[in-house]
């Protein structure tokens, strides 16, 4: 499963996130949780979203599923979804009802495909139809994502009953058992309540529920964070194995970049509500381009990368009510120059050799940096001196 194979995936585009912005309206100012985020996801791909907490990665997941609640608000952009051309009942209905929408939303823009539907334009009924049958989500905390008063079986079958009303009670039960088997849970657990299951079992049960309608895309929001390392590993293997067999796409959200380096096809690094770098895992492992990516990569010990001194990133993420002008990362960036303080970097191919590795940083923009592009070694030196300077000020105080 090399990077090459994936990028030549014949399945085509599944989801295009275009210029999505999300604001939270708080009493003491508007929080810009996402600003102008665009990503394309190919069929069968695993897309990793990484960043510190508050970088907007979970907000993006909730925006895609339209689960954001007030005071959060999607202030702009499109979520273009490309339903698969198959003769499924659900697909047919979905496409039929939203085709007009698709045309409407692309007016004035570059027309992507007449088959695309904008998730943001769905009516409540269309949204209900779309949810889970096309896109399901695995939540961070398995303990809290299961209804404590319903048994596992009921939480699987209520999806089936809602989305496939023709299915009989027996068939639903059979399907539920089949799903539990698929994720390695004994069928007799179908009557168990969440509190009777271990943490790992609960997360498996949630994955079983997520698979119930064989969706095209599963969003996994830190699916293993709450689990201990051994179970974490098991669940990850399970997810990879299931994806191999069932061929769904995954958006995998984590703060642990090293995890993504092992399993994601494409990785988007987020900072202060924007994507700052997008690359395949190979590219990123070999040479992160954005200073933030480098810093993030070196906040976690990696199994594969060369041994480096762990310095972390100085400072803390910005207040999203008051994002620094220019590049939001400049107050923490050890390589920041004058331009970073006032000019917003554009998203560009980093170097001619790696046209697919996009980065929003003036270091790769010929207008601001005509010279050499930084290397890992230079990043390391700069971060270390920033680290030492910080230690120095601390002592002085």
């Amino acid at each position: 499963m090399s990077t090459k194979e994936i990028s030549s995936n014949p399945g085509g585009t599944l989801l295009k996130i275009k210029n999505i912005s999300v604001d939270y309206h708080a009493a003491n100012g508007t929080v810009h949780a996402l600003t102008d985020v665009s990503i394309a996801l190919e069929r069968g791909q695993i897309l990793g979203l990484a960043g510190e907490s508050g970088s907007g990665k979970s907000t993006l997941a909730y925006a895609i599923t339209r689960l954001l609640r007030p005071p959060a608000e999607i202030t702009g952009g499109q979520l273009l979804y490309y339903p698969r051309h198959r003769d499924s009942e659900v697909e047919g209905r979905l496409k039929g009802s939203s085709r007009a929408n698709a045309r409407a939303v692309t007016t004035g823009n570059m027309i992507e495909s007449t088959d695309a539907v904008d998730i943001l334009q769905f009516s409540p009924a269309e949204l209900r139809e779309f949810r889970w049958s096309e896109l399901s989500i695995v939540f961070q905390s398995a303990m809290n994502a299961l209804n404590p008063v319903l048994n596992i079986g009921a939480q699987i079958t209520d999806v089936l009953r809602t989305h496939q009303p023709a299915m009989g009670a027996d068939a639903r039960r059979k399907r539920a058992i089949e799903l539990l088997r698929l994720v390695g849970i004994a069928p007799d657990r179908i009557r168990s309540y969440p509190h009777e299951l271990s943490g790992g079992m609960r997360q498996r049960a949630i994955i079983a529920i997520a698979l119930a309608l064989s969706p095209e895309l599963i969003i996994m929001d830190e699916p293993t964070t709450a689990l201990d390392v051994v179970v974490q590993r098991e669940i990850l293997m399970e997810i990879m194995d299931l994806r191999e067999r069932l061929n769904f796409s995954v958006i995998f959200i984590t703060h642990d970049l090293s995890l993504l380096l092992e399993l994601a096809d494409k990785i988007a690094i987020m900072y202060a509500g924007r994507i700052v770098e997008m690359a395949t895992r190979g590219e990123l492992r070999h040479q992160p381009r954005h200073p933030y990516s480098y810093g993030l990569l070196n906040s976690f010990p990696t199994l594969h990368g060369p041994r480096r001194r762990m310095t972390g990133i100085p400072g803390s993420p910005p207040d999203l009510r008051d994002i620094p002008p220019g590049c939001a990362f400049h107050p923490r960036c050890p390589l920041a120059s004058e331009a970073c303080h006032n000019t917003l970097p554009t998203f560009l191919p980093s170097t001619p050799d790696t046209p697919g590795q996009l980065v929003a940083c003036h270091l790769y923009d010929n207008r601001f940096n005509a010279g050499e592009r930084p290397t890992n070694a230079e990043f390391a030196v700069r971060y270390e001196s920033a680290y030492e300077a910080m230690q120095g000020t601390r002592k002085a105080v």
């Binding site: 309206h25 007030p70 959060a72 608000e73 999607i74 949204l127 105080v397």
Partner: protein, 308 residues
């Protein structure tokens, strides 16, 4: 030195923030306004009507008029004067008994939650027992057997029957606090247990104490009025409850003297609602999810995108 002064100023800042939050909350402001209204009446009202509220007169059962804004009772007492003095009495009683009750709740709740073990077993059993015992019948029983009827009896009776609710809530909170870092740190630095309980833990539960205090005051005012209405208070004193007692005993209702029994009850309900509003506001500040969502702030298009 630098550190301590900076924490002090952040503490001040936090206090100011809290105050801003509190006054920004419409429910709290509304409740505070009602409470302030009654406090002002209690303090200054009697100054404007210095007449003894129990003075009889020839104006018997007069409906509201220029001479008697809220009419008179069957014995010719001025209802407004009674109401003003009654406000003072009921407020003082409410807050006095509320404070005493809260002190007991705090001691039992914090001690029970902090120590755990058999102390907790015993104290929380007592708390739960008092919680399920019907308070008014118990209060009636206590008041009936008291050798003397008057404000002191009511104070004792209501404190005895009212402490359990606050104690239960504070115990639960203390239980979740006793293993926090700052408590461990205080323990490690050798602070005395009493100091830890009342100077480290208690200040962190102040919002709960405030909410429970307000709830207790509401309970006290309602229960006090109930006892007095039954004639278990000092019926010669002037309070909202005794006004209702006399109104009830003299068939104000059948005589159609609505001006007699309506005002005291409205005052109780208004004051109670004011306190309840402050309480709900504090709840909302502590748990922002409870806030009523603002309306009309968003365009219809974006609302569609966020609605689900």
């Amino acid at each position: 030195m630098i550190i301590s002064s900076s924490t002090q100023s952040t503490a001040m800042l936090r206090l100011r923030d809290t105050w801003r939050l509190i006054t920004l909350n419409r429910k709290v402001s509304f409740g505070l306004a009602i409470l302030a209204f009654f406090v002002l009446i209690a303090i200054f009202g009697p100054l404007f009507f210095p007449k003894d509220p129990n003075t009889f007169s020839q104006d018997i059962l007069q409906p509201p008029s220029a001479a008697h804004w809220l009419g008179t009772t069957q014995t010719g007492q001025d209802v407004l004067t009674q109401l003003l003095y009654g406000t003072r009495f009921s407020l003082v009683m409410g807050f006095l008994i509320g404070t005493l009750t809260m002190i007991i709740s705090i001691i039992i709740g914090l001690v029970s939650g902090y120590f755990g073990g058999w102390i907790d077993e015993v104290l929380s059993l007592a708390t739960n027992v008092f919680l399920v015992l019907p308070t008014l019948p118990l209060a009636i029983l206590l008041a009936a057997f008291a050798a003397y009827r008057g404000p002191l009896t009511i104070v004792i009776v209501l404190v005895v029957t009212g402490w359990s609710w606050g104690a239960r809530v504070l115990r639960a909170q203390t239980l979740s606090m006793r293993n926090r870092d700052y408590v461990e740190a205080a323990k490690a630095s050798g602070e005395s247990t009493l100091r830890i309980i009342f100077f480290e833990i208690l200040p962190n539960e102040i919002s709960i104490v405030a909410a429970e205090f307000l709830g207790t005051v509401i309970y006290v005012i309602l229960a006090e009025t109930g006892l007095e209405f039954l004639g278990l208070g000092d019926i010669t004193s002037t309070s909202w409850g005794t006004m209702l007692y006399w109104a009830g005993n003299n068939d104000a209702l059948l005589l159609g003297a609505w001006w007699w029994f309506l005002p005291p009850g409205l005052c109780i309900a208004l004051l109670g609602a004011g306190l309840a509003f402050i309480n709900f506001g504090i709840d909302e500040i502590a748990n922002p999810r409870l806030r009523t969502e603002p309306k009309g702030a968003k365009s219809s298009k974006s609302r569609k995108a966020t609605a689900s």
